[in-house]
Amino acid sequence: MALDRWIGLVLLGVCLVYGYAAWFTMDDMLAPFMQRNPIWPSTFPKVLSILGIVASLVIVLGLEKGEPKIGDIDYRKLWEYNLGQALLLLALMVLYALLLRPAGFLLSTSGFLILGSVILGERRILLTVVIAAIATGVVWYLVQVVLGIFLRPLPLFMGG
């Protein structure tokens, strides 16, 4: 079974869970006066879940035939590409998300930019550090001072 039909199967599961939540779990919580409304919070999701189940069944069962075509990247040979770099960058983004609040904007951002370049194979460390520092400073200034959106600059333990 090709990847697109596997995805169809997964989405079918999502639609079934969604449909279950819409059809069986939501209406009990409804206040009595709202039950007199012609439309309930669950009405639209109920319609959507049926449409979604039909559409994903069409894909899973392969009712609509299209010629299989290979895009920019053939996922069957994924390991032939720079998969390691991509996974490392994704991990770095997760790390950034977790560290942004505790470590402060300046530290985590410049760290993210430097490590990102290093993962991609940049070896001129000094250049990377300078660029990252300037970019971090400029973005922080723009967001914090010009736009007035609060970004905690320094790590927590430094009282930032």
Binding site: I7, Y18, P45, K65, Y96, T128
Partner: protein
């Protein structure tokens, strides 16, 4: 009307107001380029500045300049980085980004600038002529028709995005609609499908999803398969548009200015629907050879949404100025600013304070002209973004997607959602699922449900579907749009296998 024009010119051409227009356009363009900050947030940020000026015409002129600048700036980031920061420019990235990938970034930006200029200017002329009349037409559209109009828009997108694979595009649209139901709806004060997570209470962030669907997979593809570096000067030399190209986009610009304007007039529709519908319509009426170009860097496919969204922005001023009803989020913020300045927009605005009404229209002309003059010389420098070495560009794209998602909500969980959806979107792209319908379904989902709910309440059931002929007509069109392509594909296949030649 001539008298009004002169009053407007007099007000708009004062030194102070000219500086306001130029400053507004510049601020709008530069901030609009940052993904994640759309016109709505920029105008919201500029409101304190505008109110402190005290002069309503100057304030409105400044904000109108910011508005146009932001729309143009938003298209640059969708064209160059495939990172649309504003819902209205998502359609521009369909063809603008492939053009930039082919080394025609300069040309793409030029077309965007010219199309925006034409759309904005023609829109302003239409506004002048039609503003008084249109206010009454807009009132004829009920929520039932809005609902039907959005269904048409969604099915048009699903039918066109999934060439030969309508089911996939349809499933993506439905998935987008499903995601739009997460969180608290406007009509029911009840959290839905949040799985008990506080962070999902307000639903998924639009910017988070836009970044995850477009920018992040693009960056990951760049990492996975480095493409050959083009020589850096290649971006700039292809700046000019040839006569043949100008001839082919001129009718597109003409049609889309008018269509976009009238869509923009309808409250609630606005630039987003106008740009998607404009793209879909132009794709549909193009010749077969040109149709194949769409999505691969067609100049028509770029000019259409760019013209339509600017014309629609202008159109959305009609209900604001004539009825006092804001047609979009942005004009709602403008309405707030006007009330704070002691101006009440409405039918009496043109009679009581004509100088404000006409000054705004004149400043639209001036703003568009200023944008064109400022941006055309800047384009080579803006396009240089693409010649940044890959080792630096990719971390920065990733960083801007993260920043865009973070600034909007100030919530670090949003970043985890971004990464998760980004991985999901990349896998979907591997399997050749179109991603645009998902995002469009998500954007229109809230409006769709609200209008559906409103008409259900007005008619106490679904009877509005057959009791209102306009609604029924629109829904039938939507059904045809879905069924026709798969029917045609099936017939073509049968014919190809040589069985049923007779039908």
């Amino acid at each position: 009307m001539l008298e009004g024009l002169l009053i407007g010119l007099q007000t708009a051409l004062s030194i102070q107001n000219l500086i306001m227009v130029i400053g507004g356009c510049l601020i709008g363009t530069f901030i609009g380029m940052l993904p994640g900050l759309g016109p709505m947030s920029i105008i919201a940020i500029m409101i304190p500045v505008a109110i402190s000026m005290g002069d309503p015409s100057a304030a409105l002129i400044l904000l109108a300049g910011v508005y146009y600048g932001a729309i143009f700036g938003g298209s640059t980031s969708s064209i160059l980085l495939n990172a649309p920061g504003v819902a209205g420019t998502v359609a521009s990235s369909f063809d603008g980004f492939p053009m930039a990938r082919q080394g025609k970034a300069g040309k793409a930006l030029t077309i965007a600038a010219i199309a925006s200029f034409a759309g904005g200017t023609i829109g302003a002329i239409l506004l002048m002529i039609f503003a008084p009349m249109l206010s009454s037409v807009a009132l004829l559209f009920h929520s039932a028709e809005y609902f039907a109009l959005m269904v048409v828009g969604l099915s048009a997108i699903a039918a066109f995005a999934g060439t030969g694979q309508v089911a996939k595009a349809l499933l993506m649209t439905i998935l987008g609609l499903i995601m739009a139901t997460v969180g608290e709806g406007a009509l029911f004060n009840m959290p839905r499908f949040t799985m008990g997570l506080m962070d999902l209470q307000s639903g998924f962030g639009f910017i988070t999803l836009a970044m995850a669907m477009f920018a992040l997979p693009e960056a990951l593809f760049l990492v996975l398969k480095p493409r050959e570096q083009k020589d850096s000067d290649g971006d700039i030399k292809d700046l000019r548009i040839t006569r043949a190209e100008a001839k082919s986009i001129a009718p597109v610009i003409g049609r889309q200015s008018i269509q976009g304007f009238f869509i923009g007039v309808l409250p609630g529709a606005g630039a987003t629907i106008a740009s998607f519908l404009g793209y879909a319509v132009e794709r549909n009426i193009a010749s077969k050879a040109e149709q194949d170009e769409f999505g691969k860097g067609s100049i028509k496919g770029l000019a259409a949404p760019e013209t339509a969204n600017n014309a629609a922005c202008t159109g959305s001023f009609v209900p604001l100025l004539t009825l006092g009803i804001p047609g979009s989020g942005t004009t709602a913020i403008l309405l707030g600013a006007l009330i704070a300045l002691n101006v009440t927009p409405g039918p009496r605005l043109m009679i009581d304070e004509p100088q404000i009404f006409w000054a705004v229209i004149m400043s639209m002309f001036i703003g568009n002209l200023v944008l064109l003059i400022l941006n055309l010389p800047l384009i080579p420098y803006i396009a240089k973004v693409l010649s940044i070495p890959r080792n630096f560009l990719i971390p920065f794209i990733l960083f801007f997607t993260l920043m865009g998602a973070y600034i909007g909500q100030n919530n670090a969980t949003e970043l985890l959602l971004l990464v998760g959806f980004g991985v999901f979107a990349t896998i979907l792209r591997f399997a050749d699922y179109p991603l645009a319908p998902l995002l469009i379904g998500f954007i229109l989902g809230g409006m769709l449900e609200n209008n559906f709910a409103r008409s259900m309440q007005l008619y106490d059931g679904v009877s509005f579907i057959w009791e209102r002929p306009m609604t029924l007509g629109l829904l039938i069109i939507a059904a045809i749009l879905i069924i026709l392509p798969s029917y045609r594909a099936r017939r073509a296949r049968i014919r190809a296998s040589g069985i049923a030649d007779g039908d």
